[in-house]
Each structure stands twice: as structure tokens, then as C-alpha cells.
């Protein structure tokens, strides 16, 4: 059994004073401190980052981390677009399971504000196919196409999608590490300018800097002496075609469905056992699709159910989604998100989620997606 025994995150936002590797160094030192461990306890590091090579011509992150930490342990760079963090976590778990290590640090980090937004937007489209990039499709554009299919197939409007952003902004308001800590209304969402119709600015996650790190271990002694522990019940990955045009259906992310089924199978629990979940809401539509594809809500019903706010903190319900503020309000430093999501679930299960604590959380799920659904990784933690 492998457990999460420590977590540290930077604030997400426009962190002008910090470079990518400033952020990486900060969270690695921070997570060691959180778990009250020394760097010598760590056998390997997995680091998820998407844009270092694309924007800054900075690759070979393994060697960079070795320099920052003054270490010689193996360090592995993982890239899966926006799923880089979740996949880094998955590979770390498998690395330990394979017997290559006992204690591993997983870092997710991204620096997105050193360049003008249109350059960053072009960088992000590296997660799309060459054809999609050629015609000028951006990430918002791809999800906008999915949103339109969903809205037209099931009869929903832009207003229905807005509820996701309102809920997640409320959660961000409760989270001191979130990029946006301002609550918004449905009107605010509907009045915000279009990014790619029907998605508007307030339907879309922002461009943020940030880093998060987790320590996971199978070392009985370290786990026993750790103050805050959450068991990793499963971490499963699935893929799908990178281009939208080759997908079998445009009203779902099949990779999510496959990964979820495998994860619940592996964890031996049911959907109803989950009390907290961090879902990949890169755009409002993505959270609706995720609720359905993960099996929490029936296909086609998310647009209606979201309006009840049943997954919002404080509603007294047993299942709360995106207490961190999601990607929308907490921010979306691409490589960091997957790690932050698992970190948030860990905080919830260990009672350290402050104002956004969901009481009696026993099982939690993190759902991280790459690109427009080409990669999906589902992680289930439990106590």
C-alpha cells in the first residue's frame, strides 16, 4: 500500500518574482517540511510540466532539479499536456509498485506569465493536433465545439454552464491559495466577453503560475510516523485520439470513462462512496462532462443538476466537487493542476481543508485531463 504523507503548494496566480525552477525548488522544500522529512528520505522525483520546452526552450528538467536540490537520485520529466501532474503521480505510484523506490516526491509546476497571452495560448495548443493548430483552434475553441454539441444534443444554454463557474468561484473564495478569490454571479459569467463561442472569459480557467508537490511512500516506518496519511487506492490512465475529429462521440470524453471504471474497480469502492472530488474544469463544460463521464450523474443530466448546486460546499450534501476552486478559480498552471487536485483531496481526507472542509470525507477522487480529452487519469484516495 502506498500512501500520501505530505503536500505543499504555492499560491496560484501571476507570480512575477518566481521563475519555473524557483517554484519547483520552493515546493520540493515545502513538501519535505510538511512531511517532516529530509531530502535523503526521497528515492526519486517525478516532475510534471508541459510548457518549459515550448515557451522557454527549457527541457532536461531532471538535471535542473538535481542541480537545485544537489542530489543524484533519479528525476523523471512527465508531459501529458494538462494531465502532466496526474500522470506524473501515476508513474510515481507505479515506480514504487514496481519496487524501484519506497518514497517519491511528485511535483507539478508551470510558469505561464513570462510571455504575452497570445504566445502562451499558442504554446497551450501544442496539446492539440497539428491540423487543429493550423486552422487556429485554441483550447477554448476545442472545448467550445464540445460545449456546442452538448448544448444542442441535450437542450442546454450558456446560462446552464455558468453555474459551474459560480460554484467554483465560491470555493476559490474559501481557498487562500486560489488565483481568484472573488465570488461571481451568473450575470457576470453571461456578460463576460467571448473567448470562443459559446465559451466566455468566465467559463474559462485562467493563465496562472504555480507549483504543487506531494510525497508518497510505501515505507511502513515513514507512513506510521507521518501525521497526515491518505492511502492511494487507485490511479488509472486512459487515452483517446488527440483530434476531436477522430473521437467516436463528441458529447463525452471516453478516456475519462475508461479511466474511471478502471479506478473504481481497482479501489473496490462505488461512486456513491466518494465525498470529495477534484474534477478537471478547464472550462465550465468540462466539469459537466466529467460529472457524467466519471459516472456520478447520468449522461445528459449535468446541465440540469448543476443548477441545484448540490456539489457546492455548505449545501449539506455528501458529495462536494472542486473545493479548491477547481481550475477555474484556483487557477490552472497546467503541469501543477494534477498534483494540486490530489493534494486537495489529501487535505480533505486528513481534515486540513480549513474553511472548505467537507466533514467525514473518507474517499476522494481526482480527475485530470490532457488536452481536449486525449489523456485522462483518475486517482482515488481513501482512509
Amino acid at each position: 500500500m502506498i500512501s500520501v504523507i505530505g503536500y505543499h503548494t504555492t499560491k496560484f496566480g501571476e507570480l512575477w518574482n518566481k521563475s519555473l525552477y524557483d517554484l519547483v525548488g520552493e515546493v520540493i522544500r515545502g513538501v519535505l517540511k510538511d512531511a517532516k522529512l529530509e531530502k535523503e528520505h526521497c528515492d526519486a522525483i517525478f516532475i510534471g510540466n508541459m510548457l518549459g520546452g515550448v515557451l522557454e526552450n527549457n527541457l532536461h528538467s531532471g538535471a535542473k532539479v538535481a542541480e537545485i536540490l544537489d542530489t543524484h537520485i533519479p528525476v523523471f520529466h512527465v508531459e501529458s499536456a494538462c494531465a502532466s501532474g496526474g500522470i506524473a503521480f501515476n508513474m510515481a505510484v507505479n515506480y514504487i509498485t514496481a519496487g524501484k523506490a519506497h518514497t517519491v516526491i511528485v511535483v507539478g509546476a508551470e510558469k505561464m506569465t513570462d510571455f504575452p497571452p497570445d504566445v502562451t495560448i499558442s504554446g497551450l495548443s501544442a496539446a492539440a493536433s497539428g491540423d487543429e493548430q493550423e486552422v487556429g483552434l485554441t483550447f477554448p475553441g476545442l472545448y467550445a465545439m464540445l460545449a456546442r454539441v452538448y448544448m444542442e444534443t441535450y437542450g442546454y444554454t450558456e446560462e446552464d454552464l455558468a453555474y459551474v463557474s459560480v460554484k467554483n468561484h465560491y470555493h476559490g473564495f474559501l481557498n487562500e491559495y486560489a488565483h481568484f478569490r472573488k465570488q461571481i454571479t451568473i450575470e457576470d459569467v453571461l456578460k463576460s466577453p467571448y473567448v470562443a463561442s459559446p465559451l466566455k472569459v468566465l467559463d474559462s480557467s485562467p493563465i496562472s503560475d504555480g507549483a504543487s508537490a506531494l510525497i508518497i511512500s510505501s515505507n511502513h516506518q515513514l507512513v506510521a510516523q507521518a501525521k497526515y496519511v491518505a492511502k492511494i487506492l487507485s490511479s488509472e490512465v486512459a487515452t483517446d485520439s488527440i483530434s476531436l475529429k477522430s473521437r467516436k462521440r463528441l458529447d463525452e470524453l471516453l478516456a475519462t470513462k475508461i479511466a474511471a471504471d478502471k479506478a473504481f474497480d481497482q479501489a473496490k469502492i462505488d461512486r456513491k462512496d466518494i465525498s470529495v472530488a477534484e474534477l478537471h474544469d478547464c472550462f465550465s463544460i468540462a466539469e459537466l462532462l466529467a460529472m457524467e463521464d466519471l459516472g456520478f450523474w447520468k449522461k445528459g443530466t449535468a446541465g440540469k443538476r448543476i443548477k441545484e448546486y448540490e456539489t457546492m460546499h455548505g449545501n449539506g450534501n455528501g458529495f462536494i466537487v472542486n473545493t479548491s476552486g477547481g481550475l477555474k478559480a484556483a487557477g490552472h498552471p497546467v503541469g501543477a493542476t494534477g498534483v494540486k487536485q490530489i493534494g486537495e483531496v489529501y487535505l480533505q481526507l486528513t481534515g486540513r481543508a480549513g474553511k472548505r472542509q467537507v466533514k467525514k470525507s473518507r474517499y476522494g477522487l481526482a480527475h485530470n485531463v490532457g488536452g481536449s480529452g486525449g489523456t485522462a487519469v483518475v486517482t482515488i484516495l481513501g482512509n
Partner: protein
Amino acid sequence: MKTSPVKVWRRQKTLRKLLGMKGKIITWTVISVPGHKHKDQAPFPVILVQLENKQRICGQLVEYNESDLTTGKEVVSILRKVHKPSEDGVIAYGIKFRPAS
């Protein structure tokens, strides 16, 4: 990064087979905030089309009226420049769409 002449040349061979084909819009969006390569074109519509040969491709829609941007609208593929060439780079031609009627 400048447009690669080799890529343009390689792509041409597949592209030319898809010109002059009819298709139907499966889904669409209007990009208001583009990446830097398409900065000067915004806002522009991008459509995902199912061609008469069952193949699916995406492309920009040009010479349209608002009412043409609907799922199911019939379009035809045409040859256009796909983005503004750099000052001394090659010109990339590619497929765009125009409403069929």
C-alpha cells in the same frame, strides 16, 4: 517558429485531395482570442465538418452569414492562405470552407 517549408510541401499532397468537396457542419465555434499566429484574423469561425467521403476535418469558415453557422449546414472546401506568412517565410496554403449555397 517560422512555417516549415518541408511541412507545407508534405501537407500539400494530402490537402489537394480534399479540395472542392462538400460536407456538413458537425459543430462550430467562433474564436475571439486566438494564438499569436492567427492574431490578425480574430474573430473567425472554425468548423468541424463531415465530408461527403465520411472523412472529418476542421477548418475556418469564410464568406458566411451569421445564419450559416449552424450544425448541419452544407459547406464546400476551398483553397486559401491559412495564416499570415512571416516576412521571409513560405506561404502556407490550406483548406478553408465556404457555405455551399
